[in-house]
């Protein structure tokens, strides 16, 4: 399972939306995720991948794709270490 698929599963489970509608271009608003959904998703992703996502980075996420790209880069960094 790719990082993107895992993040999509987490977001879909928390927001209760069908994961097929979550594309890299989807904004959190479009998938009807409120602030609590977003924070829960961040916490779940942090726990799943063993990474920490600083608030200042999380605030830059414009859409699901930004979120996934950040997680992918952090996971790659961790793997190098």
């Amino acid at each position: 399972m790719t990082v993107e698929e895992q993040v999509r599963d987490i977001v879909a489970k928390i927001t209760r939306v069908d994961k097929s509608i979550i594309t890299r271009q989807s904004t959190f608003k479009e998938i009807k995720a409120d602030s609590l959904d977003v924070v829960q998703a961040l916490v779940a992703v942090e726990e799943t991948f063993g990474i920490e996502i600083p608030d200042e980075e999380a605030q830059k996420f414009q859409n699901f794709g930004d979120f996934v790209s950040y997680v992918e880069s952090r996971v790659a960094q961790e793997e190098k270490v």
Partner: protein, 335 residues
Amino acid sequence: MAVDAMGGDYAPEEIVKGAVLAAQKDDVEIFLVGTANILEKELAKCKLTNGSSIHVVGASEVIKENESPVDVIRRKPNCSVAIAAKMIKSGEADALLSAGSTAAAAISAIQFIGMVDGVYRPALVGSLGSFAPNTVMVDLGANVDCKPHQFLAFAIAGSVYARKFLNISDPKIALLSTGSEESKGSDAVREAYLLLKNSGLNFVGNIEGSDILNGKANVIVCDGFVGNVLLKFYESIGGYAQVWIEQKLKKYPPLRALVRLLFNRLFPATKISRETEKNGGGILWGVDGIVKIAHGASRAPQIANAIESAKEAVKAGVVENLKSELAKFNQGGNL
């Protein structure tokens, strides 16, 4: 009972006093969660009788007034309400009481206790008492914006409440809207109508604001924004009615005195808010454990009542009842 001793307008003094009151009159073991040295000082001021069982559990963080409740999860996982929630999850306590931010308690409950299988967010359920003793409303303020499936979960929680606490065997459920027709209301309300209509519940359709008190429904379902505004308006009616009538009778002192007597002793309208105080707030339904929310302005007697009420909820097995009801509707994760 895990008590968030740092939450509330009069915390921690009145929370500690209320816990002591409850421990003295009731068979309940209380864990006061908060800044340990402050709580120990407050506890030392109280006269504890032999056999009272109160412990202090330290919490290293405190939520400040200007902080977002959502931050509880990421930035303050060791604040008092979060620690209290974790005690429910671990089985150290059977119930949690907080007079602090409802949102912070709800978020802690979601993250650290978890929801009953299939439920998305907790809801506040409460009886309307005085004018409509056989009517409950849900949600009273935990969810400002709701997704359609949440209304179905609210209806089920309200039904369990009506059966368990009002002894209504087959509660009539209605959706609060701007008209009785299926097409009335917001997008979420119209979608919820269809879910409720096909749910197998005793759904009687939409009702309007003018039907809230007339008994057409035992369970009135609405989002937390509408529910909270209505509840606070409802609680204020009695007091304003008394003032208005007394002003009208200004020139007739004997009648004015009679009105005061009626309102204070007999007429139930002004007791609406007192009944709420007596009940000591509401339970967050849908959480996999008892989480009791007391009013922010609660003083010691209300805190003691809330502890007693949370204990009754544990004894009544409300979580187990809700789980079994929800299981009937949760096939396919529809809630």
